[in-house]
């Protein structure tokens, strides 16, 4: 009886050890950054310059949509400062365990070497769950490996979340994508 109990305990410890050490749970390198400062990722640089919020979406001079939640537009510039093309085509917002995928397809940035692309990535979020809102960007590749993902905190904290919710009433107009040579 004691032997069986000891065996079950050892199996349980093994199961926990396997689960905790599973490399698939740590499948990417996180590079942290803050708003306004360039972050190096994949031989390029990413900078978040501005965060805008609203409930009514205006694009191309027309009202396109509205939400009971909150639209968040994150202005991102991706510069391919290295010899290779910068491809950060997967973007999402994180708030704790909550993930918000891009509202439109063009939430990520891609740039050829020597150029920088600026885009307003648009997301629809639940205003009640925006604490520590963070932009996460990486490449959306079919073949996997240990890749880099950049995470930039957008300045929305538990303390100031109410202020963000208050200013969200109104129209939000994301800028269209622009590409130009790196100065």
């Amino acid at each position: 009886m004691l032997g069986a109990l000891a065996a079950i305990t050892l199996v349980a410890v093994s199961a926990v050890g396997l689960r905790v050490s599973d490399p698939d749970e740590k499948k990417f390198e996180v590079i942290n950054g803050v708003i306004g400062k360039p972050v190096k990722v994949n031989d390029g640089e990413v900078t978040v310059t501005q965060v805008k919020v609203g409930t009514i979406l205006k694009q191309y001079g027309e009202i396109q949509d509205s939400t009971d939640g909150m639209f968040v537009a994150v202005s991102v510039t991706g510069a391919a400062v290295g010899p290779k093309r910068l491809e950060l085509n997967a973007a999402r917002l994180l708030s704790g365990d909550v993930r918000y995928e891009g509202y439109q397809l063009s939430a990520g940035v891609n740039s050829d070497p020597g150029f920088q692309t600026s885009v307003d990535g648009l997301f629809e979020v639940d205003p009640a769950q925006i604490d520590d809102l963070t932009l996460e960007m990486g490449s959306n590749e079919i073949l996997h490996g240990y890749q880099q993902r950049v995470r930039i905190k957008l300045g929305v904290t538990r303390a100031n979340a109410e202020e963000w919710r208050a200013v969200a009433e109104g129209v939000i107009e994301p800028a269209t994508m622009t590409t130009r040579a790196i100065p």
Partner: protein
Amino acid sequence: MLWTDLRILIVDTGRVWWRLLPLIMGVYLLGWLGSELTLRVAVIAGDISPWLALVLFAFNFVCVLAAAIVILSLAGRELGIRGLLPADEREIDDRDTSLSRLLGITLLPFLGMYAAFGQVADAANRLVTQQWIRYGFLSDQKTVLGALYDLATQHLAWLVALLVGIYVLRRVLDFVAERTGLRILGLVVVLIESFFMLLVIVGGIRVLQTFLVWLSNRAVLQWLAAIKNALADFFAIFKIDLPEILTRTWAFIADTIWPVLVDVVAQPMLWLAVAALVFGSRVLSLAELWRKGQPYAARIPGASAFAHYREKRAFRRLGPPPKGVRLAAARVQEAFFGDIDDKYLPTLHALRLVLRAGPLFLGSYIFVYNLVIIAGNYLEILINWLVGGHEAQFWVRWEPVFALAQDALVEPVRLCLLAVAFRRCLELFGQRSAASATIPAAHPAVPAMATAEARS
């Protein structure tokens, strides 16, 4: 006792690994080199035909498995395992002196385990990935995946005929190999089996998907959904959310229970059972048992040296093989069961042997086995941390090197542990045999023959 088992498993594994390090590392590297070469050649051969790529890729498994079997054999010899096997449990053949004989006997059960734990599917994915890289995702060049997709979706009858044809060819060659004793045929059989498994795994998934799409449009599924809704409404009367309970139960089984059973318990146990085959533990075939006129479950108990005296006597009381129609029927059964015999029955029988080692030893072994896997996981995390995050092109080029750095350290240790664990099993059996041999001597009610049997 727990500490004794843990200490023996950890310390002896370390000792054997260290003593044989140059030798087993050399063998492992040769196997890896052969495996990588066959992968590259298969990818290049895909330019000519995806089928040729698949045929050549079958060699990949022979390289990997042959290296594992040779390492196990070396560790077993270092530990003197053959000498510890009881005389009537030991298989008398030339597996100790002939590598081709050893591979011929053990490759199929090893391949069976590789397929059962998804390693054949992983290897097939590597081939498909390499072809994608070579041709691009949008290329017109036909890949292995594309060829099998066409076959499974547009010419299903051809795929089934091909599978049946390959299966029959393997069985015929197997039969010829047994009759003639030609060892090279044993290796050819393994190659055909590898090709068969690749075909089933890569092509079979397409057939399954086609079937599921067909099934989703059947009325029977709507009926089942209606029954489910009716049941949910009925339970809702008692304020029981049946769909929620079923979803949670299924999630608990699929995410918690099943991984623990398969990864934590079944893998170590089955690998130990497979390792027993390399060391020459006796294996009976399912067809042989069936032919002797008794169901498998009833017959197997007397077959081992560790069986009870009563079971052994029943085992020896069996009559001669059947004749005439019964013999013909038995031959058909043999052909049918032959495939299970070749791949899985040896392992299952060896597993039965291993399970008798007792819960304490098995718990210790499972724990140490998983320690090795956990060490491998952390090694991968460490390599990732040292190398840092990179784009997919980087990993396509360098992943084999980093995987080698990880596997070359972990895999030989795992194989040495299997050898040490099997030796410990035999020691425990030996201790028990000695103990049970002394009991009848002090107990006059037990017949004298029982004492003799127990000693054997």
